[in-house]
């Protein structure tokens, strides 16, 4: 058995979380499935006018992605907190923030990545043209990691708090809004003939910003949660 266990602890965390998710298949599929459902229901409710559908498609896809990512947040640290693994992670000689990055990465691989992959397929029902599809995938690929990163802060802050489920939404959604605006905006921009590169570079800037600060904030939140 070639073991991956002498690798870097961050790798171990990602590997473990993926393995656990695959053991419980429903957990893995929930965000993806939720995404597909929401996106497919909306044309039914809104009516089938092609022009309208095409116009609202980026917004709908992005909002659904955001909700799907958020709904899987409460499972990010909860389990580890309950069974004492979080303590072990905090006591590991590897800095906790590195391990947090590992957990965020795993969360993204299980929620953001599948959405990014499936989104263009779903977008076909909205009759989006090719360049829009491309930009949609690209914006999701850059934007969903930001969602996971910001989400980790919310999940850390609400860890082990009464009513954490709603609270995490209250805390995290305002911070998601810029991602939503620039993500959906990029697709709209390309559709209306303007270039999407301005929007995409802002998204990328958000990613860099979140990549720097979110692990730190989430780690601080986790340490606070562990202390009490």
């Amino acid at each position: 058995m070639k073991s991956p266990f002498n690798r870097h602890p961050m790798y171990v965390v990602v590997h473990r979380d993926l393995k656990l998710a695959l053991r419980r298949k429903s957990d893995t599929l929930t965000p993806l499935f939720f995404f597909v459902i929401v996106v497919s229901l909306i044309p039914l409710g809104v009516g089938a006018e092609r022009e309208t559908l095409r116009q609202i498609a980026p917004g709908i896809l992005w909002v659904s992605a955001l909700l799907a990512s958020m709904l899987s947040l409460n499972r990010l640290f909860e389990q580890d907190h309950a069974d004492g693994t979080l303590e072990q992670m905090a006591l590991s000689p590897t800095p906790l923030s590195m391990l947090v990055v590992g957990k965020v990465l795993a969360h993204w691989l299980l929620s953001g990545l599948p959405l990014t992959v499936i989104a263009p397929v779903l977008a076909l029902q909205f009759d989006l043209p090719m360049p829009s599809l491309l930009i949609l995938s690209l914006s999701l690929a850059i934007g969903t990691p930001v969602l996971s990163l910001i989400g980790a802060i919310g999940a850390g802050l609400t860890l082990g708090i009464r009513g954490g489920g709603v609270l995490v939404a209250v805390l995290v959604l305002p911070l998601y809004v810029p991602v939503l605006i620039f993500g959906a905006g990029s697709v709209e921009a390309i559709a209306s003939g303007l270039g999407a590169s301005a929007h995409l570079s802002i998204l990328a800037a958000l990613l860099v910003l979140a990549g720097f600060f979110a692990p730190w904030a989430a780690t601080a939140a986790l340490r606070v949660a562990l202390e009490y």
Binding site: M1, S3, F5, N6, R7, P9, V12, V13, R16, K19, L20, R23, R24, Q79, A82, D83, G84, T85, E87, Q88, M89, A90, L91, S92, P93, T94, P95, L99, L226, E227, Y228
Partner: protein, 204 residues
């Protein structure tokens, strides 16, 4: 040497202990005793660096914990009420992961030996969910054999263990003390250690 100086434990508005000081030297065991809710776990979590003390300081090998957190965490092993085992993974997987997180390289063969010693031979690939309460505790304690830490902080390690299990643990602790290790320990049951042990009573 582990040294605690004037530690203060506060939970909510309750002051659990006040200006607590003690020393644990190499080869010594400190037995923390006290009633339920007297603050033993709180103290042990402070020593492990999980909770901050309102005042006072903790020194390891003469230096403050905060100055050497990474090193200290390599030297120290904390085993609390939560066992840190994932129910969906097998014992083998769990131990390999926790060793990796502790920054220690192991092999499945070594883990297998440790599991054999704690009496879980033949259950390496069973998922932890299927283990009995005592077997879970034993799987958690197998970490003592895998990680070469010099300071052990054990919060009620005898919980759920049967008589043979308790005896085994006492022997392991004695061996560790003989090797110059340090142990801080709580228990509501009586422990007959061979090595040097002091005890402090909380909430008295």
């Amino acid at each position: 040497m582990l040294e605690a100086i004037n530690l203060v434990g506060v939970r909510g508005e309750r002051r659990l202990f006040n200006r607590l000081s003690f020393q644990v030297r190499a080869g010594e065991c400190l037995l923390v005793q006290g009633e339920n809710g007297s603050g033993k776990t709180t103290l042990l979590r402070m020593l492990a660096g999980l909770t901050a003390s309102a005042e006072g300081a903790i020194r390891w090998k003469g230096r403050l914990l905060d100055e050497q957190l990474g090193e200290y965490q390599r030297d120290m092993l904390y085993c609390g009420h939560g066992l840190g085992l994932k129910e969906d993974l097998s014992t083998m997987e769990n131990l390999l992961i926790s060793a990796a997180l502790a920054g220690i390289s192991t092999t499945p063969a070594l883990v297998s030996d440790a599991l054999k010693e704690v009496g879980l031979a033949g259950r390496e690939s069973l998922s932890v969910r299927g283990l009995s309460q005592g077997q879970k505790r034993r799987a958690g304690l197998a970490r003592l054999l895998l990680q070469q830490s010099s300071l052990w902080i054990l919060d009620e390690p005898l919980t759920a263990l049967d008589t043979a299990g308790c005896q085994w643990l006492v022997n392991v602790i004695d061996r560790h003390l003989l090797d110059g290790g340090l142990v801080v320990l709580t228990s509501h049951q009586h422990l007959s250690l061979a090595g040097t042990s002091h005890s402090i009573r909380m909430g008295a």
